[in-house]
């Protein structure tokens, strides 16, 4: 064996050792991150006597659906799910419509004052959401929207994030498309509806998913606005179950599984779009 080949093999061993180490660390972290899930799912099917045993059971010796049955029949879980759907879905639809309208107006139409409007919207990014909750509550209360869907939806719709993302995208659509359409006699609405929106479909899809997940998960604002148990969203309802008198760990675990299930299904189907929405946010706000 010559020196050159020994050196090559040892370098090869180095690389594969390093790669082995990388794999071990990455998969180790992944396993640690998955453990809380797996444990939760397992416990949601366990009868009470196993849950109070200090020894954890990863594979339940006995399976029960009691916790799920209780939630679906004895609690307001179904009502909370409907509320959350209406709020997250409603907010998402309104955001898509009015954000795309103003982004269209700011990028494709020419009118005095639009740079001031965009400046104010950009500056509002500096307003942390939580700072506003006290005065916002008095506004929503003055408008008679406490305990209502609109009281949760409208403040969520005021978020400037969607305007900002769509503004950046619409701005980069080439003028030629629009000019050709104008020559063909398209009205402003037709240009918006038949040219700009179809071109922006990927970013609209990403924004929609991101906003749906965000509003599905919203916590502090619904907690403040919704005081009637029947009006709760899922996050508020399940905390209420937790802090209430029903201290059965199995029930808590079942409620977390049920409350997360719709989002996990959405995530499985639209993983790419949700991840892309997060990434657009990350690249868009600094670039």
């Amino acid at each position: 064996m010559t020196d050159a080949t020994t050196e090559q093999t040892s370098r090869f061993d180095d690389v594969s050792l390093q790669s082995l180490g990388t794999h071990a660390v990455l998969y180790g972290v992944a396993l640690l991150m998955a453990i809380p899930y797996l444990y939760t799912i397992s416990r949601s099917f366990q009868p009470r006597r196993y849950l109070t045993d200090p020894q954890p059971y990863w594979i339940p010796p006995e399976i029960t659906f009691d916790h799920y049955q209780y939630l679906l029949t004895e609690s307001l879980f179904v009502q909370w799910t409907i509320n959350t759907f209406v709020i997250a879905g409603g907010a998402t639809i309104i955001i898509l419509v009015i954000d795309s309208m103003i982004a269209f107006s700011l990028t494709r139409l020419d009118w005095p004052g639009q740079s001031i409007v965009m400046g104010v919207i950009l500056a509002s990014f500096m307003v942390p959401y939580y700072m506003n909750i006290v005065p916002l509550y008095t506004v929503v209360s003055d408008l008679g929207l406490v305990n209502s869907y609109l009281g949760v939806i409208l403040p969520a719709v005021a978020s400037p994030l969607g305007v900002f993302l769509l503004y950046q995208f619409f701005r980069d659509i080439p003028d030629e498309y629009e000019e050709a359409a104008r020559l063909d006699g398209f009205s402003t609405f037709q240009i918006y509806y038949r040219i700009v929106l179809p071109l922006a479909r990927p970013i609209l899809a990403s924004l929609a998913l991101f906003m749906f997940v965000y509003n599905w998960n919203a916590f502090l604002w619904p907690l403040i606005v919704l005081s009637d148990e029947a009006a709760y969203t899922l996050p508020i309802g399940l905390v209420n179950l937790y802090q209430g008198n029903i201290t059965t760990p199995g029930l808590h675990m079942a409620v977390t599984v049920l409350a997360s299930l719709p989002l996990f299904i959405v995530y499985l189907f639209f993983q790419g779009e949700i991840v892309r929405a997060v990434q657009i946010q990350g690249t868009g706000t600094t670039g």
Partner: protein
């Protein structure tokens, strides 16, 4: 914005059309902006201004017009309020624990997955997935993991320790426990942003570094870090702003306890306004919070943004 060619005849004709003497495009532009601007003004701008007004009053939630103007008294009271300072300390401690871990772990995982690793899609899905959970679900899951009696961690710790600690009942451990749970929940967001940024670095820069005989560490320091600076700045600022507003974790899991060790600014704001009905005082906490966040953002820009 207004920087567009107007050569075609269609555009010229359009520009001359008027409605009641106003250019048609101006009318259209305002009409198309109006729905968002209405919601934006009523539910974002107006509350932001009203909050400042409220913070200068001893606000009467039942008869707002009877509220007494007290100037800066809410702010002065705040600075002499020990609960406020405890909440401030708690918040800073939480941020100091969570933000560095969130950034470094996110960066480490992104750089690791970017290498030639098998099963990238599975890893990416696992790292990102907790991020889509609501904070309420996250705290419920971890209440089981941390539990003293039948918790997962303490069961296994029991093999090596005779008396495992109460994670959420010890004044020393409760805040770190909340921070660790938060890292588990949110690290996927940073991971995904860093991964995209790393993939955007041109491979030829690494080839050039390799030709120059640069070590892995040098390549990381001279290529990866400067190229990813914008994303790192974004993630650091976003995480500071988000983690400074921590609320649900102490609210659900510890109620600020034990003995105030997990109290935070937003949780105190919430209690002042919505439990004690001191709206003016709550609004003042909100304004102090904004000022802190603006200062943090500026410091971040200075430290990371201009450092070549």
């Amino acid at each position: 914005m207004g920087l567009r060619n107007r050569f075609t005849t269609g555009e010229n004709e359009r520009a001359q059309q008027t409605v009641f003497g106003v250019r048609k495009e101006t009318v259209e532009g305002i009409a198309w902006s109006l729905p968002y601007l209405a919601v934006f003004s009523v539910f974002l701008i107006w509350p932001a201004l009203k909050g400042f007004y409220m913070s200068l009053h001893n606000w009467d939630p039942f008869v707002p017009s009877e509220s007494e103007f007290i100037g800066l008294e809410n702010y002065i009271e705040l600075f002499n309020d020990p609960v406020f300072w405890d909440a401030m300390k708690g918040t800073i401690y939480f941020v100091a624990l969570s933000v560095p871990l969130l950034v470094l772990l996110g960066l480490g995982l992104a750089l690791g997955v970017n290498k030639n690793v098998k099963g990238k899609t599975v890893l990416r899905a696992i790292y990102f997935s907790p991020y889509i959970l609501t904070v309420a679900v996250v705290t419920l899951i971890w209440s089981e993991v941390y539990s003293e009696g039948y918790g997962l961690i303490n069961y296994y710790l029991g093999f090596v320790m005779s008396d495992p600690p109460g994670w959420l009942t010890s004044t020393n451990l409760a805040m770190p426990a909340l921070a660790f749970m938060t890292v588990w929940w949110l690290v996927g967001f940073n991971f995904v942003i860093f991964l995209a940024a790393r993939q955007g670095v041109p491979e030829r820069l690494y080839e050039a570094a390799r030709l120059d005989g640069a070590s892995t560490w040098r390549a990381f320091k001279d290529v990866t870090l400067p190229q990813m600076r914008n994303s790192i700045l974004f993630v650091v600022i976003i995480q500071f702003i988000l983690q400074f507003q921590v609320f649900a974790q102490p609210f659900v899991l510890t109620s600020g306890g034990p003995r105030g060790s997990t109290d935070t600014l937003v949780y105190y704001l919430y209690r002042s306004a919505f439990s004690q009905h001191q709206y003016g005082y709550g609004a003042a906490i909100g304004y102090v919070l904004v000022m802190i966040l603006v200062v943090i953002a500026l410091i971040n820009f200075k430290v990371i943004g201009t450092n070549d």
